[in-house]
């Protein structure tokens, strides 16, 4: 999967990566995202599975443990950078917004 795809993260990509800041079982990510966003963002199992595969192939996450088919993942340094870049992009957007709508 080309890395260009992740130059801008969707909400779902962002929260999946965020959940993986610490080791987490892939299947549990759905519940964690739901918890973290108060149900605002929902990640479907098909989407989650495919994104995990793509993040893994791109080197943004790494498989840390496998108990049968329950696999756990964690963010890599590259994944952290990706997430950081996205946060900075979002913050820049917020700053621009605030600059224009300053009272």
């Amino acid at each position: 999967m080309a890395r260009e795809k992740f130059s801008t993260l969707t909400e779902q990509m962002f929260y999946i990566l965020l959940c993986l800041r610490e080791e987490c079982c892939g299947m549990d990510v759905m519940a964690r995202v739901n918890e973290l966003t108060g149900g605002r963002v929902a990640v479907g199992p098909g989407t989650l599975y495919n994104l995990l595969e793509q993040f893994l192939a791109a080197g943004y996450i790494v498989e840390t443990r496998a108990e049968g088919r329950r696999r756990s993942y964690q963010l890599t340094a590259e994944g952290k950078t990706l997430l950081q870049n996205e946060v900075e992009r979002l913050q820049a957007q917020v700053r621009d917004y605030e600059k224009l709508f300053e009272r």
């Binding site: 479907g44 098909g46 989407t47 599975y49 495919n50 994104l51 088919r69 329950r70």
Partner: protein
């Protein structure tokens, strides 16, 4: 009470929305999908309000072992975690159902859905549809060649008309499938940029009708072409047998758990080997005359040539509307008189030929003619044009294509002696001489007649006989 129910699948592979709606409707009627394929199998459940989701696992293949891969099982686990139970799967396609109407959908990223579906389509479906499209075009152009070669004859053959219509229908089916998919993909990608899903739409009723017409067309080809019936049946049987064997091999390897690559490789090699065996057997049978049906009113005779080889031929004894003896005297009494009739809603054609038996060394006069009645008037000019271009379109292929009569053409002559509307006579442009072949028209009838029985200057009586027996008579 029936426990299972079968349905023919008329949905396009990519039409997940259509299939989901259909499965939901079936579940409401008490049927749960449990097997996918050309036929869908349902098992009886109580009528339930289930929500269905058709999703694609792009890593899977038609050649995968029956036992799902670890990746697929993990994918199923993910879905089960969200309350989605697997109902059925086939190659890349998976059908899940959920009892919770508010469950999170399996796919929540529109762009990813379009991408996954395309990866799955590229694996087998698109290749198969493009191959089918190429086949439709090949049949169409091949049939066009027979129309160009002899328009009136092809127009009179129901099998030729059916074959060309079938090829057009097959082309439209492929275009509908491929066009429908690519159009959806283009729009779905646009919608996905806005974070929206685009429902798919296929045309099951249209596909069902097209398939029905296609099958009927094939049946017409099979039953209207009496001479080719044995050949068509042999080819059809061969294809069905080949298909069954390939399915058997593929299924066995799937059950044995062979890898997809191994299965694909062995299946491909099997296709090549079995196709070769079938083709070889078929060609040998053709050579041995095993598909030849002795025609009615015919006797088989053998001719042994000077090199010792023996060939067999048929001598016909059909009643002809016009005989050599009606035009000239002859002592030869071993003629083969063959009459062939073809009829379609657009035209009908009667072909008569009175020839010496192959191998006979007499110099007896011969005669052949075609009488075409054009039933659909707007096609008369095209039929006549085809008859007049007989020499230009006449080819013999032996290593390469030859045009043995390229110097010949039909030139218009006085029609009055024939009592025809118009008349043409063959002319050799190389030797500047007239030949013994004529094209005559009256009303919507076209007659092409030729043969050594017409050598020399034709008398008025001979022309009157030809006119009476071929232009005027009710020949059917």
């Amino acid at each position: 009470m029936l426990k299972t129910k079968y349905e023919y699948n008329f949905y396009s592979f990519y039409d997940h929305t259509g299939m989901e709606q259909h499965f939901e409707k079936m579940a409401a009627q008490g049927w749960l999908i449990e097997k996918l394929g050309y036929f869908w199998r349902y098992r009886r459940i109580g009528p339930q309000a289930l929500r269905f989701s058709v999703v694609y696992y792009s890593e899977a293949s038609e050649f995968d072992p029956t036992k799902p891969s670890e990746g697929e099982l993990t994918f199923y686990d993910f879905c089960a975690q969200a309350g989605w139970n697997k109902a059925a799967s086939r190659a890349q396609m998976n059908v899940f159902y959920n009892e919770d109407a508010n469950a999170v959908p399996i796919e929540t990223d529109a762009a990813l859905q379009v991408e996954t579906l395309h990866q799955s389509m590229k694996k087998e479906q698109l290749i198969a549809w493009f191959l089918m499209l190429a086949l439709a075009l090949w049949i169409f152009f091949d049939m066009c060649k027979s129309f160009i070669r002899d328009f009136a004859a092809a127009l009179s053959r129901l099998s030729a008309l059916s074959a060309i219509l079938d090829s057009v229908l097959l082309f439209l089916l492929c275009a509908l499938e491929l066009g429908g998919y690519y159009l959806w993909r283009r729009r779905a990608k646009r919608e996905a940029e806005l974070g929206r899903f685009l429902p798919t739409r296929s045309h099951p009723v249209l596909q069902m009708l097209a398939l029905l017409v296609l099958v009927m067309g094939c049946a017409v080809v099979l039953y209207s072409d009496k001479e080719g019936r044995g050949t068509y049946l042999a080819i059809l049987t061969g294809i069905v047998l080949l298909d069954a064997l390939i399915w058997g091999i593929k299924g066995l390897l799937k059950r044995r758990g062979g890898s997809a690559e191994l299965n694909r490789g062995i299946t491909l090699v099997s296709v090549l080997i079995l196709s070769f065996i079938f083709s070889f057997t078929y060609l040998r049978s053709v050579r041995n005359g095993q598909f030849d049906q002795t025609p009615e009113n015919a006797t088989r005779y053998e001719v042994t040539w000077s090199n010792g080889e023996t060939s067999f031929y048929y001598a016909y004894d059909d009643p002809l509307p016009l005989y050599v003896q009606d035009l000239t005297k002859t002592d030869y009494d071993r003629y083969s008189c063959e009459l062939a009739e073809e009829s379609s809603p657009l035209a009908s054609q009667v072909r008569g030929a009175q020839r010496m038996r192959t191998g006979d060394e007499d110099d007896a006069p011969e005669l052949n003619y075609e009488v075409t009645d054009v039933k659909f008037a707007p096609l008369f000019d095209a039929c006549l044009d085809g008859e007049l271009k007989y020499y230009q379109n006449y080819t013999v292929t032996f290593y390469r294509t030859h045009r043995p009569f390229r110097n010949w053409e039909y030139r218009e002559v006085d029609a009055a002696p024939w009592g025809a509307d118009r008349a043409w006579q063959a002319f050799d442009t190389e030797s500047d001489g007239w030949g013994v072949s004529w094209v005559l028209t009256r009303g919507k009838r076209i007659v092409r007649i030729g043969g050594s029985a017409l050598t020399g200057t034709l008398s008025q009586a001979q022309m009157d006989t030809i006119s009476e027996k071929l232009l005027d008579a009710d020949i059917k």
